[in-house]
C-alpha cells in the first residue's frame, strides 16, 4: 500500500540541522527573545538601571566598597529564600509561608543556642529539620489532600507567626552570639581564600562548559558555537574576579583597621546555587519537576509520581527557608517575633520572578534567585540610602513585584501567540 502515498518534499520536517555559527545562534536567540523568552534580560536591565539611578542620586555612598559589600550581605537571605521558591514556582504552586517559616526556623536555632546551650551545628540541623517538617506538612496538604497551595500556605503564614511569637515571647528578641553563626553575614573570608575560591570556581565553570561543548561536537550533537561558549565563560569569569576584587578592597571606615574580603555567606549561596542548578538541569528529578510544571497530565502518563514531586518542592522550599532564616539571624545578630514576616516573602517571590521564573510553572532556573535577589537588595539598599519613608518603600516594592509579574504574564501571552 505504501506506493499509494505520494512522497512529499520534506517541507515541514526538512529544516535539517543547521551548522550553528555565531550569526545563526544570535539570530535564534533574538527570535526567542522577541517571541517572549526573555530569560535573564529583565533582571540585568533592571540591575543596570538601578545602579545608574542610585549612583546618580547618591554618588558618594552607593558605589562605595562598604556599601557594595553591604549589598551582598543584604541580598543573602532573600536570595536563599527565593531559590527555594523557584522549586515551588516551577510547579506553578506558591508558598506564602516561606518567609515566616524562615522566622520560625531562625527562632528554633536561636533558642537552642541561647537557652539550651547547644553547639551551633546542632541548632542549625534542628532549624533545617524544622523547615523540612513544615514543608512536609504543606506538601502533604497540597499534594495528597489537594488543598490549593495558596490557601494552605496563607493559613500557615498566620499560624507560623503564632509559633514564632510563642517561641520568643511577646515583643522580645533572642540575641544570637554564636561565633560561627554570626560570622556567616558579618565576617569575611581571608583574602587569599577568597581569591583561590574565585579562581577555582571560574576555572571549574570554564572546564565544565568547554568539556560539554567538546563532547557535543565530537558526537555531532546539537551545541552552541564555540565563540559563544567562550564568551559566556569569559563574562562569568570576569564577574567572579571583579566581584572578588571589589570585595577584597579595604572598606573599613577608619584607616586604623582593615575590613576586606568576601562575606562568608557568599560562598554559601554559591554552593547552594551549584547544587540547585545541578539538581534541576542534570538529574531525572529535576527533569520531572519541569515536566510536572509544564503538563502534570503528560508527566503522570509518563509514569512520574506527580504527588511525590509536588510534595518534595515544598520540603525543599521550607528547608531553604530555614537556611535563609539562619542567615537573616546572623545578619541582625538576633531573631525577633516579626522575623520573616512583613515584606520578606514578597521580596523573595519578587526576586524569583524578576530573575525570570514564571508564576505559571514550567520555567525558571536556580540562578534567577541570585539575579532577582540582587535587584531586590539593590532597591532596598538604594531606598535606604535615599532615606525614603517606610510608606514609599512598601509602595515601590509592591510596584516592582507587579511589574515583574506583568512582564511574566505578557511574555507568556506572547509565547503562546507565537506558538512557543
Amino acid at each position: 500500500m505504501s506506493t499509494d502515498i505520494p512522497r512529499l518534499a520534506d517541507a515541514d520536517f526538512a529544516a535539517d540541522r543547521r551548522q550553528l555559527d555565531v550569526r545563526s545562534a544570535v539570530s535564534d536567540y533574538w527570535a526567542r527573545v522577541r517571541a517572549g523568552e526573555l530569560g535573564a534580560i529583565p533582571a540585568i536591565l533592571a540591575l543596570a538601571f538601578l545602579f545608574v539611578l542610585f549612583t546618580g542620586l547618591r554618588p558618594d555612598t552607593f558605589l562605595s566598597t562598604g556599601n557594595v559589600a553591604n549589598l551582598f550581605t543584604q541580598a543573602l537571605p532573600v536570595t536563599i529564600l527565593a531559590m527555594g521558591l523557584v522549586f515551588v514556582l516551577l510547579l506553578g504552586e506558591i508558598d506564602l509561608s516561606a518567609g515566616v517559616a524562615s522566622g520560625v526556623c531562625g527562632a528554633v536555632m536561636a533558642k537552642l543556642i541561647v537557652e539550651s546551650g547547644q553547639p551551633w551545628y546542632v541548632a542549625v540541623i534542628a532549624a533545617i529539620a524544622t523547615g523540612v517538617v513544615i514543608g512536609t506538612a504543606i506538601g502533604w496538604l497540597v499534594s495528597v489532600i489537594r488543598i490549593p497551595s495558596f490557601v494552605v500556605t496563607l493559613a500557615l503564614f498566620l499560624g507560623l507567626q503564632g509559633i514564632t511569637l510563642k517561641l520568643i515571647g511577646k515583643g522580645g528578641t533572642v540575641p544570637v552570639r554564636d561565633d560561627v553563626i554570626v560570622a556567616l553575614a558579618n565576617k569575611n573570608m581571608p583574602l587569599w581564600l577568597g581569591w583561590t575560591l574565585a579562581v577555582l570556581v571560574a576555572l571549574g565553570y570554564a572546564a565544565s562548559q568547554l568539556l560539554r561543548w567538546n563532547r557535543q561536537r565530537r558526537r555531532g550533537l546539537h551545541g552552541k558555537p564555540v565563540q559563544l561558549v567562550a564568551g559566556r565563560v569569559v563574562v562569568v569569569g570576569a564577574i567572579l574576579l571583579i566581584g572578588t576584587f571589589v570585595l577584597s578592597l579595604d572598606r573599613a571606615p577608619s584607616p586604623l583597621v582593615t575590613l576586606a574580603g568576601i562575606p562568608w555567606g557568599v560562598p554559601l549561596v554559591a554552593v547552594l546555587l551549584i547544587i540547585a542548578t545541578f539538581v534541576l538541569d542534570r538529574t531525572a528529578y529535576g527533569r520531572h519537576l519541569y515536566a510536572v510544571g509544564g503538563s502534570a497530565e503528560a508527566a503522570r502518563r509518563a509514569g512520574i509520581n506527580v504527588t511525590r514531586i509536588r510534595m518534595s518542592v515544598f520540603m525543599i522550599a521550607s528547608g531553604l527557608a530555614a537556611v535563609s532564616g539562619i542567615v537573616a539571624a546572623s545578619r541582625l545578630n538576633s531573631v525577633a517575633t516579626d522575623s520573616g514576616a512583613g515584606n520578606t516573602l514578597l521580596y523573595a517571590v519578587g526576586a524569583a520572578v524578576i530573575g525570570g521564573t514564571s508564576l505559571f510553572g514550567g520555567r525558571g532556573r536556580a540562578r534567577d534567585a541570585i539575579l532577582g535577589g540582587l535587584v531586590i537588595a539593590t532597591i532596598d539598599n538604594g531606598l535606604g540610602l535615599l532615606g525614603m519613608d517606610a510608606y514609599a518603600n512598601f509602595l515601590i516594592t509592591g510596584g516592582v513585584l507587579l511589574v515583574a509579574a506583568g512582564i511574566d504574564a505578557l511574555s507568556r501571552r506572547r509565547r503562546s501567540a507565537t506558538g512557543r
Binding site: 500500500m1 512529499l8 526538512a14 531525572a284 519541569y290 515536566a291 509544564g294 506558538g419
Partner: protein
C-alpha cells in the same frame, strides 16, 4: 494466514455500570501491518484502545499477546509487553524539548546524572529511522513545533522502546493536508519496519491510504475484520453507519 497475530482479542466484554460498551468484541493485529479501527462516535473504539493499553480492565474475554494470554492492568505493564498507545492529546510537556519529551519518565542515566548525549543520539536515530529529518534540531522545545511535528514526536516516543504494537488514536484529526500525509507516511513506515500498527481514524481516505486490514465496530460489537483490499470505500462507510454491508456485518 498462518501467522500468529501479535495482538489477538477474543470475545471482549466491558461495561461501565449498566452500560455495555463492548460486547463480544474480536480484534486482531498482525506484525508488519496497519490495522485500521473504524467506527462511529460511541462505537467503543476508545474503550477498546484503553483496554488494549491497560488503562481499563476487561470484564471478560481473552487477551492474547504473541499467542500468550496476558492481562495488562496498567499502561506500564502494557508498555512492558511492548504495547504503546499514542493518545489523541499526545501528552507532551510543552516546556521541554523533543529529546526530553521522548525520554520522559524513562531517562537514561549515568549514576545520578542524566546521560544527555546517549538520549540525544538515540532520539535522533529513532527520528531518522522514521525518515524524519531532525525537525531543525532535536533540542527544540515542543511548544515551537507544529501539530504534525508534535504528532511525530509522540509517535517516535512510542517506538523508542522496542515496541511491538503501536496504537495511534486519531493521529491526523487536527492536522492539515500536508501534515496528514507526513504522519501517514510514518504510520506506513512503522508497519514496514515490522511493528503491528493500530490506526484509529474517522477519515476513510487515511484508512484506505495506509491500512492493510480494517476492523469496524458498531455499537460495541465487531461487525467486520477484513483486508482493506477486499472492501470498498462505500462498504466501510455502511459498516460504520449501519453495522452491515452486503455479505459483511451483522446478519439478520
Amino acid at each position: 494466514m498462518s501467522q500468529t497475530p501479535v495482538l489477538d482479542l477474543r470475545g471482549i466484554d466491558k461495561s461501565f455500570g449498566p452500560v455495555r460498551v463492548l460486547q463480544q468484541v474480536d480484534f486482531t493485529a498482525y506484525a508488519g501491518e496497519v490495522t485500521a479501527l473504524v467506527g462511529d462516535n460511541g462505537a467503543g473504539k476508545t474503550t477498546l484502545v484503553k483496554c488494549i493499553g491497560g488503562i481499563h480492565s476487561l470484564d471478560g474475554g481473552d487477551y492474547l499477546f504473541d499467542g500468550r494470554p496476558v492481562r495488562p492492568s496498567s499502561p506500564r505493564e502494557a508498555a512492558g509487553l511492548g504495547i504503546e498507545v499514542v493518545h489523541q492529546d499526545l501528552a507532551l510537556a510543552d516546556n521541554l524539548d523533543i529529546v526530553q519529551n521522548m525520554f520522559l519518565g524513562r531517562e537514561r542515566r549515568r549514576g545520578i546524572v542524566l546521560d544527555e548525549t546517549a538520549m540525544e543520539e538515540l532520539a535522533r536515530r529513532t527520528l531518522a529511522e522514521l525518515s524524519v529529518r531532525t525537525i531543525g534540531s532535536v533540542r527544540r522545545k515542543v511548544s515551537e513545533l507544529s501539530g504534525g511535528q508534535r504528532q511525530t514526536v509522540a509517535i517516535a516516543r512510542a517506538v523508542l522502546w522496542d515496541s511491538r504494537v503501536v496504537v495511534l488514536d486519531e493521529p491526523s484529526a487536527a492536522l492539515g493536508v500536508a501534515q496528514t500525509q507526513q504522519v501517514l507516511e510514518i504510520v506506513r513506515r512503522l508497519a514496514d519496519q515490522g511493528l503491528a500498527v493500530v490506526l484509529i481514524s474517522h477519515n476513510m481516505n487515511d484508512v484506505f491510504a495506509v491500512s492493510d486490514r480494517v476492523a469496524a465496530l458498531y455499537l460495541g460489537r465487531t461487525v467486520a475484520q477484513v483486508r482493506t483490499a477486499d472492501v470498498t470505500h462505500a462498504q466501510v462507510v455502511e459498516l460504520i453507519t449501519a453495522g452491515r454491508s452486503e455479505s459483511l456485518g451483522i446478519r439478520g
